[in-house]
C-alpha cells in the first residue's frame, strides 16, 4: 500500500502552515461578513447589547456594593473595547489593547469577585474564549527545587488559557533577600506568557497597594506589561451594612430592627480594630451571630419556635461579640 492517502500533518512544518492558513481564512471570512463601508453607521448600543456588556456591568452595579472607582474603570474599559471592535469592522485595525490588570486594595474589598466578572465581561466582548478564572498563589507557581518552577508555572498558565489568571498576593513571588528562591523564574515565565499569549490570556495581579508598589519597583518588566491599575477602596460602615444585609438575605434570614442598629455599631467598631478584612470579616461575624442565635433558640427557656424565630437575628446575637467588650480579637 502506497502512502498516498496522507493529506495534512506529515511533518510539522507543513501541518502548521495548513492550519494557519485555514485559521486565517476563517478570520478573513468573519471580517468580510462584518466589514463596513466608510459611510456606514453602527448603533453602538446594539453592539453593546449583543456583547452583553450592559448586563454584566449592571449586574456588577447591582450585586457589588460600593467600589465606585472600580466600576468606573470597568465601564471605561468596556466602552473602549466596544469601540475597538466597531473600529475593526470599519477596517481600522488597532492593536489589541493590553488587558493585563493589577488590583490593589485591602483584604476583603472584592478583588477576586471583580476578577470573576472581568472574565465574563471580556468573554462577552470576544476578547477571551472562555472567561474562566484560575486563581494562583505563590505555591502554585514557584517550585521547590531547580527545574521545578518552569513546568509548574507553565501548567498553571496552560490551565488559564482562554480565561483569566488571577495571581493573588503577587508580591510573594519576589523574595529579594533570598538568592536561592525560584520566584524570579516564575515571574520571568509569567512575563513571557503575558507577552506570548496576549490574545487569549488576561493576567490579573492582586495584593496590598504598598507591597505591590515594591513588587513593581523590583520588576519593571511587570510594571510596563500591566496596563490597568485599579485601586479598590475600603468599604464604609454603611456599605458593610448593605453587604451584611445581602448576605443574610441570601441565607433566608433577616435582622430585627434592634439587631440592625447593633450590626451598625458592631461594624463601626470592628473597622477600627486590627485584622479587619472587609466583607470577609462581615461574613465571619454573621456566621458567629447565627451560631449564637441557634444556641439562644435551643438552650433558652422557651424552646418552642416558629418560622419568624428561626429566621430572625436579634440584637443579643450580635452584641455578645467580644468587639463590644473592647477586645482585640473579633469573636
Amino acid at each position: 500500500m502506497a502512502a498516498d492517502g496522507r493529506t495534512s500533518f506529515g511533518t510539522s512544518g507543513r501541518s502548521a502552515a495548513v492550519s494557519d492558513e485555514t485559521a486565517a481564512e476563517a478570520e478573513e471570512r468573519r471580517r468580510d461578513e462584518e466589514a463596513l463601508a466608510p459611510d456606514d453607521t453602527v448603533d453602538l448600543g446594539e453592539v453593546r447589547r449583543e456583547a452583553g456588556v450592559d448586563d454584566v456591568l449592571d449586574a456588577l452595579d447591582r450585586e457589588l456594593v460600593g467600589l465606585a472607582p472600580v466600576k468606573d474603570r470597568l465601564r471605561e474599559l468596556a466602552a473602549l473595547l466596544v469601540v475597538d471592535r466597531v473600529r475593526e469592522r470599519f477596517g481600522i485595525t488597532a492593536d489589541r489593547p493590553t488587558l493585563h490588570m493589577c488590583f490593589t486594595g485591602n483584604p476583603g474589598t472584592g478583588k477576586t469577585t471583580v476578577a470573576q466578572r472581568i472574565g465574563e465581561l471580556l468573554t462577552g466582548l470576544g476578547f477571551l474564549r472562555r472567561g474562566h478564572v484560575v486563581t494562583a498563589t505563590r505555591d502554585d507557581l514557584v517550585g521547590e527545587y531547580v527545574g521545578h518552577t518552569a513546568p509548574k508555572t507553565k501548567e498553571i498558565v496552560g490551565k488559564a488559557r482562554g480565561g483569566v489568571l488571577f495571581v493573588d498576593e503577587a508580591y510573594y513571588l519576589h523574595r529579594p533577600g533570598n538568592e536561592r528562591d525560584y520566584g524570579g523564574e516564575a515571574i520571568e515565565i509569567l512575563l513571557q506568557a503575558m507577552e506570548d499569549h496576549r490574545d487569549d490570556l488576561v493576567v490579573v495581579l492582586a495584593g496590598y497597594a504598598d507591597r505591590m508598589a515594591t513588587f513593581f519597583e523590583a520588576n519593571p518588566g511587570m510594571q510596563s506589561r500591566v496596563a490597568h491599575h485599579v485601586d479598590f477602596p475600603d468599604f464604609t460602615a454603611d456599605e458593610l451594612v448593605t453587604i451584611a444585609e445581602g448576605m443574610v438575605a441570601d441565607q433566608g434570614l433577616r435582622f430585627s430592627s434592634e439587631a440592625y442598629i447593633a450590626l451598625h455599631e458592631y461594624l463601626e467598631r470592628r473597622r477600627e480594630q486590627p485584622w479587619f478584612a472587609g466583607a470577609r470579616s462581615v461574613r465571619n461575624a454573621l456566621d458567629r451571630a447565627r451560631m449564637r442565635q441557634a444556641r439562644r433558640l435551643g438552650e433558652g427557656g422557651d424552646t418552642e419556635v416558629g418560622l419568624a424565630d428561626l429566621t430572625t437575628l436579634e440584637a443579643p446575637d450580635l452584641r455578645a461579640s467580644r468587639v463590644f467588650a473592647g477586645g482585640h480579637r473579633a469573636d
Binding site: A3, G10, H132, P151
Partner: protein
C-alpha cells in the same frame, strides 16, 4: 505503508483545526489529555514515551495544541498521539487516542516466518524501521542529533 492506529485512523490526517475540535470534545467530557511519541511502529507497542506530564484541569485547547506543536517540532520524524483518559468510575480507561504526527516516510513491515518443531511455522511482523537504533529510525532529520527532549522540565 501508512500506519493506522487509534481513532480516525482511516480518515485523512487531521488538520490542527480538527485536532483542536477533538481536544475541545475531550475537555467537554472532562477527560485529561496527554501527548506521547514513539518511533517504534509495531502495533503491540503500547507504552510510548510521554511528552511532559498529562495536562489536568485544562479549560481551553490552546495549551495542549501548543504542546502538540512543540512535540512535533522536537520529533518531526516520530509518531505522536494525543490521549484522552476517562477517569470516571467504571470506565477508567483511554477514551480517545489519535495520531497527530507521523514520519514523512513509513517503510512498513515484513512478515517473518520462524520454522519450529515439526515444521510448524510461527508468523510475526517486523517493522523495517526498527532495524535501526531508536532515534535514527525515520528520515534524516533525526539522525545524529544526540539526545532529544521529552517535554519534561521545559
Amino acid at each position: 505503508m501508512r500506519i493506522t492506529q487509534g481513532t480516525f485512523s482511516f480518515l485523512p490526517d487531521l488538520t490542527d483545526d480538527e485536532i483542536r475540535l477533538q481536544i475541545d470534545y475531550a475537555l467537554a467530557h472532562e477527560w485529561p489529555l496527554s501527548i506521547e511519541f514513539t518511533d517504534d511502529p509495531h502495533p503491540r507497542n503500547t507504552y510510548w514515551e510521554m511528552w511532559g506530564l498529562p495536562m489536568f484541569d485544562l479549560q481551553d485547547p490552546a495549551a495542549l495544541l501548543d504542546e502538540v506543536r512543540a512535540c512535533r517540532e522536537e520529533h518531526p520524524e516520530h509518531y505522536v498521539r494525543v490521549i484522552a483518559y476517562d477517569a470516571s468510575l467504571g470506565r477508567q480507561t483511554v477514551a480517545l487516542s489519535f495520531l497527530v504526527n507521523r514520519p514523512s516516510e513509513e517503510p512498513g513491515f515484513r512478515l517473518e516466518r520462524q520454522e519450529g518443531k515439526d515444521r510448524q511455522i510461527a508468523y510475526t511482523t517486523h517493522a523495517y524501521a526498527t532495524d535501526r537504533p531508536s532515534g535514527q529510525r525515520y528520515g534524516r532529520a533525526d539522525s545524529g542529533r544526540g539526545a532529544r527532549s521529552n517535554g519534561h522540565g521545559r
